[in-house]
Symmetry: D2
Subunit: 350 residues, 4 copies
């Protein structure tokens, strides 16, 4: 094995990224070295690339980004027992402390001291990445490589959809980025009877149609509230899955939510949101759930089971496959809005 | 409208039933008279026909049995506001008191003073049946007539399956009578990833296969526990849906239930059951739910939504369609075990 | 029995109210006429008296206000079966339709077509009031008259506190009007281990101390966040009960809520509220519950049980007892903030 | 520090135990050596002492028993970070594997590969005991030493009581050994409005009275069902906490459980139990929960919070305090039924 590897590197505190030849990372007795086969690009990576306000406040270059991937175990530390060289794996990239109140009471996904590989430490846009054994997720070879590389955002969708009852429910999804699009498939596979996908971007609406949303709506030209109210016998939707993180989407979502409905909020607004608490929450008797990451590791079991059972067709979301060396081209496509999920191949697309 | 109608009547306290010409039932100001289009036969009707111990203790002849049906509203009482002549309807046949603790706290389906139409009062194996307005369930004409006639047992299945989480779960169903068979379809439509159907009767196992259970098992010839343990990575199933009401099925069901699993029990054993509480419940950390009837009216909304969305293919369960006048033939088929769900047509099969 | 009675009347669309001699109300076959023994005054009654924007949009004079009371059954309609002349009763004043989706699925407290007696129809600030039988709550004579007159707001508190786990939890209550004060007692009776009461008004803070909040805090002079964080080992509170309906209180409440905590919102803001959804809801993994009215009738059973068991000492909240004829004086006290819960006696204080 | 220590030892596979001088246990890099200050005796220890069928099948002598204790940290392994010499601690003695399905989904208390210190490895009836850091529970010095020594069984009680709603509920507790007795205090502290304690043993009934059960009943001489039905307005209890592990207690418990009630089962029957599943579970719509151990570590936070808030008076349960060298006398008292919870002092009672 060579000493060095190719990696996407954010070398300093400014926009952009470079492909560099860097040292293959070391691993401790409880860690696993994984050879990355496919990685995928998240909106977070675009924030880091663009060096926006959030990135400036959080990221400490130099950094190898990337937190969505799958690969093959290349080597394991001395105390690792649950995984061995050659295993097909992905990983939960939120590394929790294991000792805070949340970690000790089943809420490790909201650990007080969480560190994210690919954000707070070197990540998976490289030929190799080091992962703690506890965070490795061993995969059945039956799961397609492409799906294995997107388990992180698929897990966000599964966690959001399954944070409350979904069977026999009507659902509005506001925002059709990759997670919103995955949520369409997950909701339908789990018994949702009508899924309304609401999205301002035409490119994304087209993908939402391919994902078989029952109704794809454009709030810039359509009276979304009237349409949904009519389609739900005047009741409104049982469940709102908010994936846009934009105040207009949030407000519209609550507008169409029924009395007593559930709103699971995953999209992250970049500034405070003004909402009519009286009508939209209190008189409505709404239940609102803040959704962060994936349940460790309930969500991973759930999505693995759904994938193995063939319940999810996610192909329409994967719009592009590029070599890792073309990383900057991928960033441009996402900045222009002409791609959904882009897969990166460290050793080139085969 | 004529004064009299044809009906199946249990005339006296002994086995059998007769087709009689009887008075069309009256209806009060809050009641609805429904012209029955299709009724369906339940195991309870067989107990009444055979005049077994349970029937002798509960039934007071003369009685028109029948509690699964759909039809058209023929007339409504003066104070009825939510339904009108010509509407396509079915009905919840458990009439609750509305005043006991359970009724006033959202558990009307386990009302202390419940009366069942077709058991405690004249039922739907007739040209007409009278139903309180509160119990009428108005149907979308999009729902097929055959499905509309089996909402009562389908509701049992929906209530059982959805009494806990089902998405991304593995499921064992013990007993493949009509409700167990419906449960296969409901569980899969709501995201169950593996459904094991366990049944001693060959006829029923064949229907279970048509319902697309992932694995249909015969406990008289197969090592069900080993097979399920292997198919679940040694963990056992997440969910047991007990539909047999037989001690062997119950014990086998608990045997294959995983630590921390959920057991929803619907099948009614005719005598006490001996179970290893220490291993099967306590050390296992199991959750056991007794399931009775259908949630009023949450279950009705759920099953209507699933049917309208086309999520359920129930046709394999409906094995026979006969004229109501052939009622006794239907009873014989069920006693022999050569039919699953039999539909009755008061005015003959068209 | 006389034909007329004394009542508080809002005669026309302007501020104020009058004591008038009016007809004793009629009652239908399913209704109950109650002789009011004690009524109590709610903030809503002050809005109606002051004729503020909300009142102008909702109230249609002439109206007898009043929706908190207890009394004795004076007469019952022909079809009433569960209550008789002489019974000691209170009532749920939210009259639900019984036919909408929410009513039919156990959520009658958020009925789409709810009418409130004392707001949308003549209420209890009178010698007699008419109530539908379904809404009558029969009381054990063991429950003190004064407590019986405040079940409506006590029910708000019970519903809010028990809308999630409370045993062994730390709790912040923002806003110490009567419902917030009741919530202190309810939370402690149900196992809350630390209750922080946060209130800007000195009069109310003093009552909060008498209600035995563990710590009573003034956000205008104290660093509430630091104090609570220190008192909770840096974790924050498990539960927020928001009773103020003011944006500052809401924001402070979310500030002190722990990761994964529960916020039950009852206080009604008069305008939209701006909140940092990213930090306060989403990253926090918070559960937010909009609370409206009282569960029908789960909450009523709960509060009756707590009162009968002697678990609640509510006396500090009842600051004043006046004759109904002094209604306007009561309004002035509440407008000045020099009273908490005021009881009204139709026939004078004895 | 000396090399050896006094300990209770089960030296070989037969009844009895000895006080021996043995080596102080070693500890690894992630382990903690605790100097035991107080230990307490569990029924399990009596089984081991008596060498009954269960003990014969599970225990591999030589063994130091004992799994309830508190003490002071004497030394810590190199990698221990959360606890240091001199800290006041207790411990969860169920050591979970951390890698099975249950451990990875928040159910570590029902780990597939659990080992119990004091059962499967040397325990706390000694001057020193070794505990993994993950299982150490650091205590506030405000918690009394005696209470700190009984957190294991108190945790069983807290887990059982809080496995469902308890506020404003009526409760039957069948079996008043120490855990049943603790459950009386916990239920009342968490808002239970009536607690019925059912116990055949007179000594235990007297302690139940001191624990302030609302009604203490003797099923050998009283008509428990009639008494409870009358005291609950004919409804039955909301919650059954089964702590006896005896078939008669289980059956009686279900007999008094209301329709839709919750039964949490902790007592472990030594053989299969026959129950009327039809009436006691299915028609009743009951929820039955198997309770094992304590939630790791939710239960520990809960009981610590309740103790620190002074919500629990447990003194009546602690009937005896003896020197560890008098272990065999303690066993005799428990075999005779003339003690409830016995505390052991390794260095003598002070």
């Amino acid at each position: 094995m060579a000493d060095t590897m190719l990696a996407v590197v954010k070398p300093e505190a400014k926009a952009g990224a470079e492909i560099q030849d860097v040292k293959i990372p070391k691993f401790g007795p409880n860690e696993v070295l994984v050879k990355v086969k496919v990685a995928s690009v998240c909106g977070t990576d675009v924030h880091i690339y663009n060096w926006d306000a959030w990135a400036q406040s959080r990221i400490h270059p130099p950094l190898i980004p990337g937190h969505e991937f799958c690969g093959e175990v290349a080597a394991v530390g001395d105390e690792v027992t649950t995984v061995k060289e050659g295993d097909f794996v992905s990983a939960e990239m939120h590394v929790n402390c294991g000792k805070c109140y949340q970690c000790r009471t089943g809420d490790a996904h909201i650990c007080q001291h969480v560190k994210i590989i690919g954000v707070d430490a070197n990540g998976a846009f490289a030929e190799y990445v080091t992962i703690p054994e506890s965070n490795i997720w061993k995969l059945d070879p039956a799961i397609p490589l492409e799906y294995a590389s997107i388990l992180d955002p698929l897990g966000n969708a599964v966690h959001t959809v399954l944070s409350g009852d979904i069977a026999a429910k009507t659902v509005a999804i506001t925002g059709c980025g990759p997670i919103g699009l995955f949520a369409i498939a997950v909701a339908k596979a789990c018994g949702a009877t009508k899924v309304f996908a609401i999205e301002v971007n035409e490119y994304r609406r087209k993908v939402a149609e391919k994902m078989k949303a029952d109704l794809v709506l454009d709030p810039t030209t359509q009276d979304v509230k009237s349409i949904i109210m009519e389609a739900t016998d005047g009741i409104g939707v049982d469940v709102l899955l908010e994936m846009a993180g934009h105040k207009d989407a949030i407000r519209l979502g609550f507008d169409v939510l029924r009395l007593g409905g559930r709103a699971s909020l995953l999209g992250i607004p970049s500034r405070p949101v003004e909402l009519n608490f009286a009508n939209d929450i209190i008189f409505k008797g709404a239940t609102i759930l803040g959704i962060n990451g994936r349940k460790m590791y309930q969500t991973w079991y759930q999505m693995t089971a759904l994938l193995k059972a063939g319940k999810l067709d996610l192909h329409p979301v994967i719009t592009d496959r590029i070599a890792m060396s073309d990383f900057s081209k991928g960033m441009e496509m996402l900045n222009k809005g002409t791609a959904s999920k882009i897969l990166l191949y460290p050793n080139g697309v085969k």
